[in-house]
Symmetry: D2
Subunit: 371 residues, 4 copies
């Protein structure tokens, strides 16, 4: 089944394997007239690039994006935007011995049973490298949203059990450290934790948080196409994500109605909320407040430590994953989370344009019906 598409109106199709010729994405449905160039996309891709710190893989991937269609004289034309990144580092030899063995925590086993065989080179399609297509597309979605005054921004909220402290929260700090943590103290502790894990041939997980500002009220559809439902799908579709929260998330479960309800008040003629336990979404629709999403990311499954597993032919075996692997993928997942949030927000924003007859009449220049 076709499973590499995301979105209804603003849609991305990604393609490519870790060690194939190239990876890429096609964005279809991006409105015409948006100024766009390769550098806009490259800036996002650089944020997920490996080799940025001692906690990320040393693979020297250039990750240079090429726009092949859909942009003319510096602006999007409304037709599909095809983007390609050539894989320059295709050292298949490193992975040859993984052809037969199912790595614990990876999709080797499920891929083999689903498809009968698999491209075993570096994880093939199930590699984290697949997210490059998401990020390239997300860069366009984010740019589109910005042209409407909407901003999306993610950061590392926790690595292992080291969490950001709200009292020390700083966006500036977040840009400075390589873990994308908006809290210098927490970042320092997280680095220490990661060094320990590396020493132990082990790995860590963490939490990425994402915020969206400037969303008009009423984006998202009641019932199945709720904004939060689509954000949850978007997040959970990222390889290592095992949990998603909107607003207070699981804390809401142990809260009480009188605490959890956000009270409305008026400010300069506008409806506002005193608190934001809902995370900016009520009944599946944006309520005008900051949208808050959290994604739980499992520890990197590739560890150098010996693990027990089985082979394709049903033999039990010990395995120790060779080569350099990130002891944590959380920092590199930040831009992926941001991209998926942007893609979801862009699509649902466009879908929200058809909800009211009076606005549709205005759009087409027809006198608005009086009732």
């Amino acid at each position: 089944m076709a499973g590499s598409e995301f979105g209804t109106i603003f849609r991305v199709t990604t393609w490519g394997e870790s060690h194939g010729k190239a990876i890429g994405a096609v964005v279809d449905g991006c409105p015409a007239g948006l100024s766009l160039c390769e550098a806009d996309i490259q800036a996002y891709l650089n944020r997920r690039k490996p080799g940025q710190s001692r906690f990320t893989t040393a693979r020297a991937e250039g990750d240079q994006v090429e726009i092949l269609s859909g942009v003319f004289e510096g602006r999007t034309t409304g037709t599909p935007i095809s983007m390609m990144i050539r894989n320059t580092d295709q050292r298949s030899r490193d992975y040859g011995d993984l052809m037969e063995v199912y790595r614990p925590g990876h999709a080797d086993y499920t891929f083999d049973l689903k498809y009968g065989f698999r491209d075993y080179r570096g994880g093939g399609r199930s590699s984290g490298r697949e997210t490059a297509g998401r990020v390239a597309a997300g860069a366009i979605a984010a740019r589109f949203l910005e042209s409407l005054g909407i901003r999306v921004r993610a950061y590392t909220a926790a690595i292992g059990d080291v969490a950001v402290d709200e009292s020390r929260f700083s966006w500036e700090e977040m840009e400075k450290n390589r873990l994308y943590m908006p809290d210098a103290l927490a970042a320092g502790r997280a680095e220490k934790l990661l060094e320990e894990r590396m020493a132990e041939a082990d790995s860590a997980g963490g939490i990425v948080e994402c915020r969206i500002w400037g969303m008009p009220v009423g984006v998202g559809e009641p019932v199945f196409e709720k904004l939060d439902a689509n954000l949850a799908k978007a997040m959970m579709s990222i390889g290592a994500v095992k949990g998603v929260e909107i607003g207070d998330g699981f804390q809401a479960a142990s809260s009480r109605g009188s605490e959890n309800n956000d009270h409305f008040y008026m400010e300069q003629g506008q409806v506002r909320k005193r608190t934001n336990h809902s995370g900016g979404i009520l009944g599946g629709m944006s309520d005008g407040a900051e949208i808050r999403i959290r994604a739980a990311i499992k520890p990197t499954p590739s560890i150098a430590r010996s693990q027990r597993t089985v082979t394709r032919s049903g033999e039990e075996r010990q395995i120790a994953i060779k080569g350099r692997h990130d002891p944590v993928i959380v920092p590199r997942a930040v831009v992926v989370v941001e991209s998926m949030a942007a893609l979801t927000a862009a699509d649902m924003l466009l879908l929200s344009m058809t909800s009211r007859l009076d606005r549709i009449q205005s759009f087409f220049g027809v006198p608005v019906s009086e009732e």
Copy 2:
């Protein structure tokens, strides 16, 4: 935008408002030949019916389902199954004063801005009553799955901060108590907690957990249509859900690779996993183990306690929600979670049939290609 459909192959469309003439659902794409009658669906609907205990609304809704199409001589025909439940209790007068006021924690405000006005009677489309359509459809999905040896079952894992203790877990107990908690001690404590909340004119939230057994390996599509991604959307599309976890969920974030990876081993010629931190899903595909999903449910927003809010015309106001409202919706949400899980599982199972050429060749009776 059309937002009341769920699923690609096995698809449900729900319709209806809390105080309209009726509510219902159309299930399209259910395979032909499944034995089905109204009693099969009624059994599910009865589990979400109000008025079952002192913690649920007294509204005397018969909730009698009528099958209008798609079933002939006791079996599904492969054509759309239309189901309708007449609303017998349409006392609009109870809600008349809510026409102008935005209830905190409800979708009144977002509905009004999205659509320009709203059916204010009992929450209209955003009422919990909307879930009756999901449950009617879920009953069919569950029955279909059972015909393939797949079972889906949900229960109350926590109410407020009272959680089920794994050591006392009992499915039998779960059937006995009205909170659907598989732990008698926890259920007793939860009842006490709910009585306190009612006395305080307040409410509670909780957690519903769902398990799926018997799913073949390889159901779910890599990248965007992962099984867990669609389960997350399904869960988050339920009105009060604010968080979703698969397997260890947020706990995985603070775990380490060596703990979180499930090791494979062989048992009677089958690949098995020693642990199940992944919750039965690897790389977005079922891995043969029990599938585990958790959904966090916020406290009922309708509370008798006075709250501050605003009106449609922008005036600040105090509001106290009159009438009987459930101090907790978690027990009634159990069957809704189960239904959404069943709908997702049924759809993705059918979608998984097209992944391998050799199996397609067998299906159509063509000699399988040799390579």
Copy 3:
């Protein structure tokens, strides 16, 4: 597979069998604020009702539509509009002997092989009665289009080889005669032809033409979602349709470029076309001229004359279809064609709103980017 849905944003789901309890449709995605009542829909349904003339079946079907949801205080709310028509005439006995025999020209055989069995009462889901749901939904689409100044209108262009003569074309005449032919002379001849066919226990086919006026320029998407592509699908999805043309259709195949190209000119500051061979669509997008679609309808397959066929169990057999059957379905198909055209136009109009960034910026009240 779910195959009873049509449309992306403005979507209809139909359900129901000829002799089941009821038939109906759910329209999801209709913008909020459209004034709508049952009489608006009934007017369309009356146009396809049987028993209107001696050429249509005598079945005394009330076809009274009931709106069950989605309309509040006389206006659409933006939520699904569920409509139901009870089947009052369920005389199963007339069709009992057709349980075993495959009627030539009908879907009995294909239904049986696809689903393993079928609801044989009156054709079940493959009955022409299925179109009632399309018409109920089409009535809403047409009303929505009218609120934007767009009109859709169909008529009988030919019955058998008796075609309307353009020189005698009259919309007034079309309303007067029961064949919906806008040419009195042709209508008279067609009546004679039908009487002959009835006398011979035979049937006739014909052509329905449909026109759309007032469509803004640029509706329809290049490549696969062309306006004409979706109109063609809409038409061909009607049971008896075997051919579709846009503009000059098959005549264009034998024309030459210098004749077939429509020349542009200016009129009062507007771009106009001198001719309309294209039928109002260029490159898959509306070009501002009248949209013209033609659908070829095959002769009614149910004829009293004896035909050779086979049974479920593989025996050869003679069959003569008993009961009264229309010798032609073309007049009743007119409103079905109009409904499908309206549904397609409504959906593609809404989809066209997202093509330009400048218009999206205006819609959301954001200053338009200068380039």
Copy 4:
């Protein structure tokens, strides 16, 4: 809106402009295990390549396809297959003067109004070159169908008013002449007709016919997703197509029931039809007979003859299209029609696998329910 995708399970996304860097397609949902290499696709692309005869453009486009993903060790992996064709001949200068003028019969005007501006180089996205992506994808669909014993084949049925005579029909002849006409005499006459048109600076249209053999009975879904409905959409989505017929098409409209109904009979235990007026489709589902589709193609709009038109700024103007243009596109459209038919058939075949519970139970190795 995203409009460059086709198919639900077996899906293609095309991208690229006539004079951009490259054009291409992504095929998602192709089952794993199909043997595939670039030569398989190249063979199809060569059939639509320009410069093959004196009636097709001289543009020396290599049209060399490159597979970038989804194929491993000579077989499809079940993941997206990305294909790219670099545009080697990007002489933008030839088209510079068309920036301002709307060519009659082309999509220049509608593109400009829909998107606010357009890539005017060689027609941009509305160029016939867009079909290269369809053909690359169609080659894969055709190969998949062949692995199941299903064949798709198209040919030129008419050029202008010169039609193939059934009595002289020869597939061998069709392969020999450059017009792909299976009738040597008609091909000779058509060549003469084309020479005349070229001499007159004019162009011709024609008809392409396509046949599908070996389709199992029951492919296609009743109501909206009929096999013929999707074939009609597929055909009409091709740039110059203005009409589509299934089986007898428009001739059925003037036929009578007793002639048009195909009688069933038994042959070696199989149900067969004596005639095939239905074109292999009954009630929207394949009936086991040869599937026949016809597409009417308009004359090439680019003619050297002077035509009247307007400019972007609203001035009237004369225009004569310079450069070499095909006096007819029908021969090059043959493989495009074949490709779209193959894509539709592949998708609907896969969708048909979920119609019966007993077959699903067999597929998953579960004992079939007895009723």
